[in-house]
């Protein structure tokens, strides 16, 4: 038999679910560098918990929780440079906070206000993207712009396991290969696309291997292991910045919450699976590891969680106290130069507001 081509998918894991190292740390890796990221993961979890509570009490619209994804999200965000561009789907708050998105912006978006997408810090990052995986291809376009302008920037997009089934994902993989783009496609495999399990998405053994068809660098990593996430992103980022092209990284994690607050996962998945998911979650192992290294202890955690609660409450209050946009806001950002007919509708909407008091 003659083999035309041969491929392997490397799997990266350093920190096992029990908090013990299963492989030597990457060269030059300093465990101390994990500490601020662990704290950020805790912050994200506090934010997530409080956001769900806000929705349950009628103070927020439908919200997509990120429970269980914290290592993947924070790891991705922390590996990027400010001038890079991030294209999220709709739950990667941990990555976005690392880039300067404010929690109040997340709340504004899910609270029904477009101003949440007007990020004050990462001005070129893409807004949340509900049409599945279209952000992957937009990120490819952004990467193409960087390449054509010879800018040392990369684009990073996230989608889910379900998202990797979409035409747009394959198109992003293919164009990243065809143009050798500085693009990192992060497939965050949390096991579920609403009610459809990973096994029903594809016959492929891994989702990482989908990048092989496009000629990309591919990796599968334990997405609950922050060290593995950081190492995978370091490799992919380095390749992209060196002109070696794009990557597909599959992050193996688990969606501990419902798809969104509008979903009830009890309808389609068993308790045992979720219980098992909690034994592999990212915070647990990192806490064990950092505690063993004497970098963290219970008292520090208690104090930090208290601090996180206060920080998130400030954000929640800023959101709750924000005024609704005036009615004309729905007209004001449609065109740079709005046509007269639209301005007439705008005037009519304002007049109606005034009449109704």
């Amino acid at each position: 038999m003659t083999i035309a081509a041969h491929f392997d998918i490397e799997y990266l894991q350093y920190l096992g679910p029990d908090g013990k190292l299963v492989a030597d740390l990457p060269k030059g890796f300093d465990p101390k560098s994990l500490l601020p990221l662990f704290k950020q993961m805790l912050f994200v979890r506090v934010f997530d918990t409080k956001s769900i509570a806000l929705q349950r009490t009628g103070k927020l619209g439908t919200y997509a929780a990120c429970l269980g994804h914290e290592a993947t999200h924070v790891g991705i965000g922390s590996s990027m440079r400010p001038e890079d561009v991030f294209a999220p789907s709709y739950r990667e708050y941990g990555a976005q906070f690392m880039r300067g998105v404010q929690p109040r912006e997340v709340l504004m978006y899910w609270g029904g206000d477009e101003r949440g997408n007007d990020f004050q810090i990462p001005r070129n990052d893409y807004p949340w993207c509900v049409p599945i995986s279209t952000q992957c291809l937009m990120a490819a376009g952004a990467a193409l712009a960087f390449k054509l302008r010879k800018e040392p920037r990369i684009a990073v997009a996230c989608c889910g396991d379900g998202g990797s089934s979409k035409t747009d994902f394959y198109a992003a993989v293919n164009s990243a290969g065809a143009y050798k783009l500085p693009l990192v496609l992060c497939v965050i495999n949390n096991g579920w696309a609403i009610s459809v399990p990973r096994s029903a998405q594809t016959g492929a053994e891994t989702l990482a291997q989908k990048g092989i068809a496009g000629g990309l660098h591919c990796l599968q990593v334990d997405g609950n292991d922050l060290i593995a996430v950081l190492e995978a992103m370091r490799r992919a980022g380095e390749r992209a910045r060196n002109g070696e092209g794009g990557s597909v990284i599959e992050f193996m994690t688990y969606r501990l919450h419902d798809h969104t607050t509008a979903d009830d996962a009890r309808r389609y998945r068993g308790e045992d699976e979720v219980k098992a998911g909690w034994t592999r979650e990212p915070m647990l192992r990192l806490r064990t590891f950092l505690t063993a290294k004497k970098l963290w202890d219970e008292a520090q955690e208690k104090a930090w969680l208290e601090e996180c609660g206060k920080l998130v409450d400030v954000e929640i209050n800023a959101y709750l106290e924000s005024k609704v946009q005036p009615v004309e806001a729905m007209f004001d950002y449609l065109y740079a130069d709005p046509p007269p007919d639209l301005l007439a509708q705008r005037a009519a909407a304002i007049a109606l507001e005034k009449r109704n008091g």
Partner: protein
């Protein structure tokens, strides 16, 4: 040497498709952020030759052949546009653009809106449009009204070389996305002198191509040809028809149409797309809303039938013809 000669020469008479190429070349020289992308637009110069010579002049980094996937073209275009470039994408044929609709509707048209102006999408999608060239299936669609209903877009369609040049320049300079339909049946219908002076035309005006007093014929795209011929035929019978090329469908310059109808009292709308919810319906509705008391005859629409454009043995029977337009005009004039 050759370049100098060309620059000094008097402006040449060119076809509509050559005007497209001329506008692309002008704006690529003028603005380094303009890139052209699509299938076969590079060395091949496009299947209709719209990008002929651009790759040789500007290089493969400004004239990008894409993988053969319309989704890819649309997604890359939105991505590039939202990061400060001005991509001019080509959908090779009208019937191939449907996979692009997701990006046009969900992203291009609302990038500025959804981000409160933080990001925008200054892109042009050029679409060779319409039937009548004896092409294979899916190469002859008149699908403009799919896009005229989408907020955030501009939808335009030139019908002469001069308007093609000026409107394409304007479309590329426009800060919001423009769907630029090119009536392929009249790509090479006639030549006219178009100065390569970089002068853009507005993207919000209709053109009165012929003055008249008895009725107003409103049309756009390739049907401008038949409509003008119908006006000639009507003139021989003593009927004076005003002819308006809508040219910019979204936003619609309704004032020009209303002014004409206030003079003539009659209006026949001619378009190639199927009748139901075609863009003619919008014009007829506006006339009903704003010009009813000027009308002395019912508004008529001469359009494609509410079926798919047939393969080419029958396609000319589907399209509006001079005879159909003349008959509708006479029915209108019979009212007083």
């Amino acid at each position: 040497m050759a370049e100098k000669t060309a620059a000094n020469a008097a402006p040449a008479a060119i076809t509509l498709i050559e005007a497209i190429t001329q506008a692309l070349a002008y704006e690529m020289r003028n603005d380094k952020s303009v890139v052209v992308l699509g299938e076969d637009v590079g060395v091949n110069g496009g299947v209709f030759r719209a990008t002929a010579g651009l790759s040789a002049t500007f290089g493969p980094e400004r004239v990008l052949d894409t993988p053969l996937d319309e989704t890819t073209i649309a997604g890359l275009t939105v991505g590039m546009a939202s990061q400060g470039m001005k991509p001019v994408a080509e959908a090779q044929f009208d019937g191939f653009m449907y996979p692009m609709v997701d990006f046009i509707v969900c992203h291009a048209a609302r990038m500025r809106y959804r981000t409160r102006g933080r990001l925008s999408c200054p892109m042009v999608l050029r679409v060779p449009w319409g039937g009548g060239i004896r092409a294979p299936e899916h190469h002859s669609e008149a699908n403009e009204s799919i896009f005229t209903n989408v907020p955030g877009l501009r939808v335009v369609m030139p019908s002469s070389p001069a308007r093609a040049y000026g409107m394409l320049l304007a479309a590329i300079r426009e800060p919001d996305p423009v769907i630029f339909f090119e009536p392929k049946r009249i790509y090479r219908q006639y030549k006219e002198v178009v100065a390569d002076d970089g002068e853009a035309l507005p993207l919000d005006v209709c053109y009165v191509l012929r003055d008249g007093t008895d009725l107003t014929l409103v049309t756009w795209g390739a049907q401008v040809k038949e409509t003008l011929e119908a006006a000639d035929a009507l003139a021989k019978e003593g009927i004076s028809a005003e002819v308006i090329d809508v040219a910019t469908l979204k936003p619609l310059d309704f004032a020009t149409i209303a002014e004409s109808v206030s003079k003539t009292g009659r209006c026949v709308i001619v378009h190639e797309a199927a009748k139901t919810a075609g863009f003619g319906a919008e014009i007829a509705a506006r006339l009903a809303e704003e010009s009813m008391y000027d009308l002395v005859a019912p508004v008529e629409r001469v359009t494609g039938y509410d079926t798919h454009i047939p393969l080419f043995r029958l396609e000319m029977k589907f399209l509006p013809s001079v005879d159909k337009i003349v008959a509708a005009a006479k029915r209108a004039v019979a009212h007083s």
